[in-house]
Amino acid sequence: MNGLLVHETRANHNEMIPTAHEVLGVVRETETEFTLRVKTDAEVHHGQFFQISLPKVGEVPISVSAIEDGFVEFTIRSVGKVTGELLRIRKGDRLFLRGPYGNSFPIHQFRGKDLVIIAGGTGVSPVRSTLRYFYQHRGEVPSLHFIAGFKDDNSVLFREDLELFRQRFDTIYSLDHDKVPGFEVGFVTEHVKQITFTDFSDYNVVIVGPPVMMHYVALECLKEGASEDKMWVSFERKMSCAIGKCGHCKIDETYVCLDGPVFNYSVAKSLLD
């Protein structure tokens, strides 16, 4: 056909068919959040996401919260139809996946430079694999500051990892209001000033959380002297396809599934819904 064929090699590939994967384990994080460990040999990058499906229920985009040899993890808040049903998944069950999709945090660009990671609530989940990577390869960055904020003591995710991260990173963990040993009190924005960007020769900042949180943390970082092009955020949007067709995640000429979910702040700041 005249000018119709695209990417011949994948011409008859049907990207929408999910494949079954074994669930290797389930960790209950909080009352509504849980982590599924799923067997896969797929090549996955930090910050990417998969479409998880349950026949009869539907499909949802979920970012990977850990990438290890032979498996990935997904940390899910059970708030919707599919995520509600996923809560019933047990070790040994099978899940349907397609992906990974989207871009990822530029780990190669992070190497050799100071790194600041600021995350709030379930926003900790998309940065967890990056944190685990640098925990295992601590020598690759001169310093790593990690600020994590949760609503209250009952909302704290990844408790084991948080304790490990304390040992190798400069950490500030904070709860919005609760006073609990090991946690500061207040929003993550309030702790940004403890990071002196001017002390770094070169650095990167990763900010992930709810849209309002990312907005104010970014402004706070700018106020503290961080520069826009060294800051990275990750977006969450409704998606039906994850391959740039369904239109749900479009923001101006940008498709979050294709051009994101990770954006440099210099781009992200101009993405207005």
């Binding site: 056909m1 079954a20 009869k56 808040r77 101006d252």
Partner: protein, 344 residues
């Protein structure tokens, strides 16, 4: 070559074509229109030339031939997914120049965006050949000339309808032998040269201007009028958004299908995620989103012409008589003002 063919003879040709082709054209559905006692004209399978409504604009576009309103994409049991199948015939569509351009816009969305072709669109689209229906003057809501979609050479055959015959320009070698015995004519399709409406594409030159455009009061002025019904999206030849949902065949059933259904960016839940967070919460913001996609975003993404082809169906269909062409002209005026301020 061009030929003059009687309806009678054309029907014989259609009959023979039907062994290999499904033929789609605008068809009248009596008393199915939006007002009582009015008809609806939309695309459907035809088996004779008299069924084709050639002297009215169809209410719905031909996009449903390649992008059905609802479509089973996968069938599932509890333990596996299977790809749905389509018919093995080829497809012939009778359509106007604007709609041919419109399907080319859909091609960009489904075949090129993200560099992975959409399997379901592609498998139907590859079957399609176009039969251009000549358009003389268009209708009062058309603005194809402004959008550059009034002319095309992208067709296998082109037709002009007379009372009991048609003239047909056959460009596709596959169809040429069928017409060997017909009377030759010198027909070549003519195109609309002027519409009653002229629409100016806004000259948005940079991101700063785009953000100023977001904040224009003109969008808010639609808040009380737009009902967010999404009729404009449904009739638009270039609207390609969809949602997938799983449907189970029976209560407590274990089998069902994953279904793709047209989605509307005007609906409140278009961006709603589990947990309730959503973006663009007012009708004005959603209209702005649609308008800018049609005249700006698509062009920026594909470095090509704007998405809108000026068929005007959205204006015909809006229950609140919101005119898209008027909206874009208002927008262009505002952008001109912004540009003027900037150039000083």
């Amino acid at each position: 070559m061009s030929y003059t063919v009687s309806f009678e003879r054309m029907n014989e040709l259609i009959q023979s074509l039907q062994s290999n082709y499904k033929i789609f054209a605008p068809v009248r559905f009596e008393k199915r229109g939006r007002y009582s006692d009015t008809d609806m004209v939309r695309y459907a399978n035809i088996s004779c030339v008299e069924e084709i409504v050639h002297d009215e604009k169809s209410d719905f576009s031909p996009k449903e031939v390649v992008f059905p309103v609802t479509q089973a994409i996968l069938y599932f049991t509890e333990s596996e997914f299977m790809e749905s199948r389509v018919h093995d015939k080829k497809i012939l569509i009778f359509l106007r120049s604007c709609d041919i351009h419109g399907i080319r816009r859909l091609d960009n969305m489904f075949l090129r965006n993200g560099n992975v072709a959409d399997f379901y669109y592609k498998r139907l689209r590859e079957k399609v050949k176009f039969v251009l229906m000549e358009c003389h003057d268009g209708w009062d809501t058309c603005f194809c000339v402004s959008m550059g979609s009034n002319e095309t050479s992208d067709y296998s055959m082109a037709v002009r309808f007379h009372d009991d015959s048609l003239e047909i320009d056959v460009k596709d070698e596959e169809f040429e032998p069928m017409f060997g015995k017909e009377a030759q004519s010198d027909f070549t399709p003519e195109f609309v040269k002027q519409n009653a409406i002229t629409v100016k594409i806004p000259d948005i030159r940079d991101k700063d201007t785009l953000h100023e455009v977001y904040n224009l009061p003109l969008w808010q002025s639609y808040n009380s009028r737009c009902q967010s019904c999404g009729a404009c999206n449904a009739v638009c030849i270039t609207c390609s958004c969809f949602t997938t949902t799983d449907v189970v065949y029976s209560e407590n059933g274990r089998m069902g299908e994953r279904r793709r259904v047209w989605a509307s960016c005007q609906h409140e839940d278009f961006t709603a995620m589990a947990g309730g967070h959503r973006f663009r919460t007012t009708p004005g913001e959603r209209l702005r989103f649609r308008a800018l996609h049609k005249v700006y975003d698509y062009r920026q993404r594909f470095k090509t012409e704007q998405m809108c082809v000026g068929c005007g169906r959205c204006d015909d269909r809006c229950p609140e008589f919101i005119s898209f062409s008027a909206m874009i002209n208002r927008l262009s005026e505002e952008v001109d003002k912004l540009n003027e301020v900037k150039s000083k």
